[in-house]
């Protein structure tokens, strides 16, 4: 077996070099030995298994098959199917790695093959110099570097802008043209600019759908001025990072849930500090579905209030997205969970999530039932995102020195409250805002650390019941608004 290996440094960011190399049919554009090339059977140049048929400038024809292609490792491998020269069992690897010191690219091209003994040296030289080194020189020339960088000084100006001077990337985006119904969501092209200082560029793999996206679209929440892009959470892969970004690397799997909206896109450039790396055991789909709700559940249970073993808590809308997570997690912490639900089906869901006492609030007065269950003491903590319809009654269901956590108002604005009346129970009332608990990198990392452990340990279970293509976001919104969805819904770019 003959092994050939060549490597070089290209004075350009790794993603720019990868953009040139990853197209298996693109070699005719950058390799001087290739006259023309096409992919057989109408397949794409990044389909594993595709076959390129190409002609060399000296007239020889070859067929090669793409065996593996990885955007994460920036690596591909291929083999020769037919060639006019005796290269037997030829398998080659092309791999790029970032040189973080100076934002350059390490490029390795290697292969192994068998050949007739008398031609081994000749063929090894042909591959190593005629193919690999010639390719290096040609790509280097595309970046305006005419000579080998062998002993020349690298461009030191690059060193002060690590991983930052890339090109814009176009991708699909769901744009809100004006406030209105689902029909205002349009599929368009949007440009993700190269990441600036403190920024990261992410290729999304899954995007979470939340009711707040509907409010963004209708204008009920003034989160964007149309035209604008909705979406609060997503998961994906880091493409590149701007200067002074630490703890994230190109190729990392990441997720986020934060303002401003803008997640309904294929590629997004955004501030890096609220983006967190994903552990291997949490899939992109689960992360996209759970970040916003899960981070909310974390700070509601651990930071706004502190649920302890032996507590009894009341969770309104216990079968809802955040409600189910609150039930699962509080149950695990050793609390007795009482919940309100709107139907028998939802009571079943809440019970499955760990709610010991689901109350059908349309049929049963929940205050009476809570006092009955707690033998008159009331609940230590009440989680209420219903608002207008429940707030005052939630106070009635509270124990002495209880804590009423009002984290939403789905049924409408809460009327003005008389704070002096809370002396009747020495009650605490909180009105937490997601952004105030998740506004710094340290807070987000700390929250996600606990959230990811809860997901890994199976304390929290996330059911993804619907998937829509990102471009069908309007259809997803219709389903969500007509209450046809159950569990979580994600959009796939």
């Amino acid at each position: 077996m003959i092994s050939v290996r060549r490597s070089t440094i290209i004075d350009a960011p790794v993603d720019e070099v990868w953009a040139i190399l990853r197209d298996f049919n693109g070699h005719a554009r950058w390799h001087p030995a290739i006259a023309e090339s096409r992919i057989e059977d109408g397949r794409a140049g990044d389909e594993a298994g595709c076959v390129r048929r190409f002609r060399l400038t000296d007239g020889g024809e070859l067929r090669e098959q793409l065996l593996t292609l990885s955007d994460r490792d920036r690596r591909f491998s291929y083999c020769i199917l037919d060639a006019p020269i005796p290269l037997i069992d030829y398998v080659a690897n092309v791999s790029l790695k970032p040189v973080t010191d100076g934002n350059r690219t390490y490029w390795e091209w290697s292969s192994s093959f068998a050949a007739p003994e008398d031609r081994a040296d000749e063929l090894a030289a042909l591959i190593g110099e005629g193919i690999y080194e010639a390719g290096f020189a040609s790509v280097r020339a595309m970046f305006g570097q005419t000579t080998s960088t062998g002993h020349a000084s690298p461009r030191t100006s690059r060193a002060v802008t690590p991983m930052g001077d890339h090109r814009p990337i176009d991708g699909g985006a769901v744009v809100i043209e004006r406030h209105g119904g689902p029909e205002v969501l349009r599929w368009e092209r949007a440009t993700a600019m190269p990441p600036g200082p403190g920024e990261v560029r992410i290729r999304h793999t899954a995007i979470g759908l939340n009711y707040i996206d509907v409010y963004t679209r209708t204008g009920y929440y003034p989160l964007i001025q149309p035209p604008g892009i909705p979406g609060m959470e997503a998961a994906g892969i880091v493409l590149d990072i701007g200067p002074s970004v630490h703890g994230l690397m190109p190729g990392d799997r990441v997720a986020y849930a934060c303002a401003p909206p803008g997640a309904y896109v294929e590629v997004r450039t955004m501030k890096a500090d609220l983006v967190v790396p994903l552990p291997d055991e949490i899939s992109d789909r689960v992360a996209a579905a759970v970040m916003l709700k899960g981070m909310s559940a974390e700070f509601l249970l651990h930071r706004v209030a502190s649920v302890r073993e032996g507590d009894t808590i009341l969770v309104h809308a216990a079968a809802g997205g955040v409600g189910q997570l609150l039930c699962q997690w509080a149950r695990h912490l050793g609390a007795t969970v009482i919940g309100t639900v709107g139907s028998l089906d939802k009571a079943k869901i809440a019970r499955g999530a760990g709610c010991a006492y689901p109350i059908l609030y349309r049929e049963t007065d929940f205050v009476e039932r809570v006092l009955e269950i707690t033998e008159g003491r009331g609940c230590n903590i009440v989680y209420d995102a219903v608002g207008a319809d429940t707030f005052l009654k939630s106070y009635e269901a509270l124990a002495l020195r209880g804590h009423l956590v009002s984290y939403g108002q789905a049924s409408g604005p809460i009327p003005p409250i008389d704070i002096a009346a809370f002396v009747g129970k020495s009650a605490t009332v909180s009105r937490p805002n997601f952004g105030h608990y998740t506004g710094t990198a340290a807070e987000v990392r700390s929250i996600c650390d606990r959230l990811f452990r809860a997901l890994s340990n199976g304390v929290l279970q996330v059911e993804i019941s619907q998937e829509f293509a990102l471009r069908d976001a309007a259809e997803a919104h219709r389903a969500l608004e007509s209450r046809r969805t159950m569990g979580s819904t994600i959009l796939i770019p």
Binding site: T8, V99, T149, G150, H246, G247, P277, A442, D449
Partner: protein, 146 residues
């Protein structure tokens, strides 16, 4: 889990760079942040499992265990046993690859560790830039052709 990746190009042949870094006890000879080092128990410095005990110029003491050493891959993997950095489950690998074009060396240094989540960014910066890039800069000074 925090991951750190730092890479650089050293203008010296890979076998020369490897000769400098394969000695697990030789940090003070090329890393500017290390004052002195010894191998505990008088073991040879290429014995897998040996522990290097070294002092930083700023006063900290660190103990690291050699987990793997490959003269074939030019790579060395080790873990931190004790350090003042506040990291858990820290495993790092230093790997060299020859750059045939110019007979230079591509050096990669990676680490994975756990820590208090709010310190992740600062520690990634300290490890990636202070320890790893600082080490590469030291190797360039002592081995580079310029």
């Amino acid at each position: 889990m925090v991951k750190v990746y730092t890479s650089s190009v050293i203008d010296a042949p890979a076998d020369r760079v490897w000769a400098a870094v394969r000695d697990f006890n030789a940090l003070p000879q090329w890393h500017p942040a290390i004052r002195d080092s010894r191998i505990e128990g008088n073991h040879p410095s290429d014995k897998i499992g040996c522990i290097r005990n070294f002092n930083l110029r700023d006063g900290g003491n660190i103990r690291e265990r050699l987990l793997a050493l490959s003269d074939y891959d030019f790579s060395c993997t080790y873990s931190i046993l004790e350090s003042p950095m506040g990291v858990r489950d820290y495993i790092a690998t230093l790997k060299l690859s020859p750059i045939t074009d110019g007979n230079r060396t591509f050096a990669e240094w990676t680490a994975e560790f756990d820590c208090e989540p709010e310190r992740a960014g600062a520690l990634a910066q300290q490890v990636g830039q202070g320890v790893f890039q600082g080490g590469f800069d030291g190797l360039k000074r002592s081995l580079g052709r310029r």
